[in-house]
C-alpha cells in the first residue's frame, strides 16, 4: 500500500485544521472498509489519513423522542443496528444498514462512510432518504446540513467541498402512524451489492386507512440514490389500496434510469423497481399499523 501519515485527533476542530493543512491530500478514516481497499488499489491517494474513531461525538448514537436520532459519522453498522432505540423506532433504517457486508464488515463499516463513498447501490442511503435524514457537515466555514437525497452528486462523489467532513447523520423523531422499510434484490442470499434497492416510508391518518405523506427511494438505478418524489407524492391523501400502491410503484419505475452492467440489465432493473417498491410500501404500511381496504 502507498505510504501515508496517520493521525487520530480528539476533536472535530482538530480534523478541520488537519484537513485545511493538507489541501486535499488528507483522507478521513472511519471503518476503513472502503478507504483502505481504495488506497491499496491506488484508486484514491492520501498523504495523511485522519482516523476519526477516537472522537466521541463522531462515534456516539443518541436518541430522544423530541429531537430524534443522531448517528455519529463513524459509528459502526453493528453499533447502530444493535442500538435499542434504533431497533425500536427505526426498523426501516436497520433494514438497509444491516445489509452492508457480513459480520466482519458490520463491525467496522460506518453509515457515514457508506454516504461519503456515494455508491449508487449503497444500501443505507435509500433507507436514510425515506426517513428524511440530514447529513451534518463541518468545515473551514463552519457547519452546514444537506438532506441525504442531495448528498450524493455522482458515483463516488458527494456534495462536500474540500476541507469539509461529515460529522453526523440526524433522523427526525418518529411520528404517529409512521412506518418505513428498505429491501433490495441480489441474486444470492448474502454478501452482495444491490441490483436494485427500494425504500419507502408512509405516514397514515388517524384511522390508518389513508396516506398523509409518502416517500419512495431507489438505489442502483441512477448515478446516485434517488428520492422518487412524484411516486410518493401520488399517494398523498389517497386510500391505502393495492391499486394505489401498484400505481405508485409504476410511477417509481418511470423515474428509474438504470444501466446495464455485470449485475443486471436495464430491463431487469426496471422490472425489479416496480416489484420492490410495492413490497417496500407493503412493509412500511404494515409497520405503520395500516390495513389495505378491500
Amino acid at each position: 500500500m502507498q505510504s501515508f501519515d496517520y493521525v487520530s485527533p480528539k476533536s472535530a476542530d482538530e480534523v478541520v485544521a488537519l484537513l485545511a493543512g493538507k489541501n486535499g491530500d488528507a483522507r478521513i478514516l472511519s471503518g476503513g472498509t472502503d478507504l483502505l481497499v481504495q488506497l491499496r488499489e491506488g484508486r484514491r491517494q492520501a498523504k495523511l489519513v485522519i482516523d476519526i474513531k477516537n472522537i466521541p461525538e463522531l462515534t456516539q448514537i443518541t436518541f430522544d423522542s423530541k429531537n430524534g436520532l443522531r448517528i455519529g459519522a463513524a459509528a459502526s453498522c453493528h453499533e447502530i443496528c444493535s442500538d435499542p432505540n434504533v431497533i425500536k423506532y427505526y426498523p426501516g433504517l436497520v433494514d438497509g444498514i444491516h445489509l452492508i457486508g457480513g459480520v466482519q464488515i458490520q463491525s467496522r463499516a460506518s453509515v457515514g462512510g457508506n454516504l461519503c463513498n456515494a455508491s449508487p447501490a449503497a444500501d443505507s442511503i435509500p433507507a436514510l432518504i425515506v426517513h428524511e435524514a440530514v447529513c451534518n457537515i463541518t468545515g473551514p466555514k463552519g457547519k452546514r446540513s444537506i438532506p441525504v437525497e442531495s448528498f450524493c452528486v455522482a458515483p463516488g462523489r458527494n456534495a462536500m467541498q474540500s476541507g469539509e467532513f461529515l460529522t453526523s447523520v440526524t433522523v427526525p423523531a418518529p411520528q404517529e402512524n409512521f412506518g418505513a422499510s428498505y429491501l433490495r434484490f441480489i441474486p444470492r442470499n448474502e454478501m452482495d451489492i444491490a441490483v436494485v434497492g427500494a425504500g419507502a416510508s408512509v405516514i397514515l391518518d388517524a384511522d390508518r386507512k389513508r396516506f398523509v405523506a409518502v416517500r419512495i427511494s431507489l438505489g442502483a438505478v441512477a448515478p446516485t440514490p434517488l428520492l422518487a418524489s412524484p411516486a410518493g407524492d401520488f399517494l398523498s391523501g389517497k386510500s391505502v389500496t393495492h391499486q394505489n400502491v401498484k400505481e405508485a410503484a409504476l410511477r417509481a419505475q418511470a423515474i428509474a434510469k438504470p444501466i446495464t452492467d455485470l449485475r443486471g440489465t436495464a430491463e431487469h432493473r426496471k422490472h425489479l423497481v416496480a416489484v420492490l417498491v410495492e413490497r417496500a410500501l407493503d412493509k412500511a404500511i404494515e409497520r405503520a399499523g395500516g390495513k389495505y381496504a378491500e
Binding site: 500500500m1 502507498q2 505510504s3 501515508f4 501519515d5 496517520y6 487520530s8 478514516l29 471503518g31 476503513g32 472498509t33 483502505l36 481497499v37 488506497l39 491499496r40 488499489e41 489519513v49 482516523d51 474513531k53 459502526s76 453493528h78 457486508g101 457480513g102 459480520v103 466482519q104 464488515i105 463491525s107 467496522r108 442470499n189 448474502e190 454478501m191
Partner: protein, 155 residues
C-alpha cells in the same frame, strides 16, 4: 520512508509491542512482524474472511485494520483460541467433521465461529450460515463447517 510508530496491544492475552508504518495492515504486522502466521491473506480486500481476528470482542478482517489503530486494544487471533490443555471445541469438531480440505480458510472460519459462539452460544443453522457469510471456502461446500460449528455449540 515514513516514521515508524510504536504500538502496544494485548494479543492473545499477552502484552506485545511492535513498530509499524501507518500504511501497514494489522494482518501484515501479525504475520510479518509478530510471526503469528495463522491469519491468512486471501483477498486482502475484506471479502474472504481468511484474516479474521477478534478486536475488543468484535469480529474484523485484519486486512482492513491499520496496525496503528490497535494501540491499547485487545486482539485474539487463531493462535489464541486453543488453551494449553488442548484444542478448543471448535477446532476439535472441525477435525471430527472433516470441515476442511486445503485448510487455508480454516483459521478465519474458526475465529469467526468463536466470535459467533461468544455472542450466541446456541445458534440455529440459519444463524450459523448467516454469520459465516463473510468467510469463503472453495473446498468444503460449507455443510461440514456448519455442522462442526453446530456440534461445537452443543458440546
Amino acid at each position: 520512508m515514513p516514521n515508524k510508530t510504536h504500538v502496544t496491544a494485548t494479543i492473545n492475552g499477552e502484552e506485545m509491542e511492535f513498530l509499524c508504518e501507518p500504511r501497514q495492515s494489522l494482518l501484515e504486522v501479525l504475520r510479518e512482524t509478530l510471526g503469528l502466521m495463522g491469519a491468512k491473506e486471501g483477498c486482502n480486500n475484506g471479502n474472504c474472511g481468511a484474516c479474521n481476528v477478534i478486536l475488543d470482542g468484535a469480529l474484523v478482517n485484519s486486512c482492513l485494520v491499520l496496525a496503528v489503530e490497535i494501540q491499547g486494544r485487545n486482539i485474539t487471533t487463531i493462535e489464541g483460541i486453543a488453551s494449553p490443555n488442548g484444542l478448543h471445541a471448535l477446532q476439535q469438531k472441525f477435525i471430527e467433521h472433516a470441515a476442511l480440505q486445503c485448510g487455508f480458510c480454516t483459521p478465519g472460519f474458526i475465529v469467526a465461529s468463536k466470535a459467533l459462539l461468544d455472542n450466541n452460544p446456541d445458534p440455529s443453522e440459519q444463524e450459523v450460515r448467516a454469520w459465516l457469510a463473510g468467510n469463503l471456502c472453495r473446498c468444503t461446500g460449507y455443510d461440514r463447517i456448519v455442522k462442526a460449528v453446530l456440534d461445537a455449540a452443543d458440546s
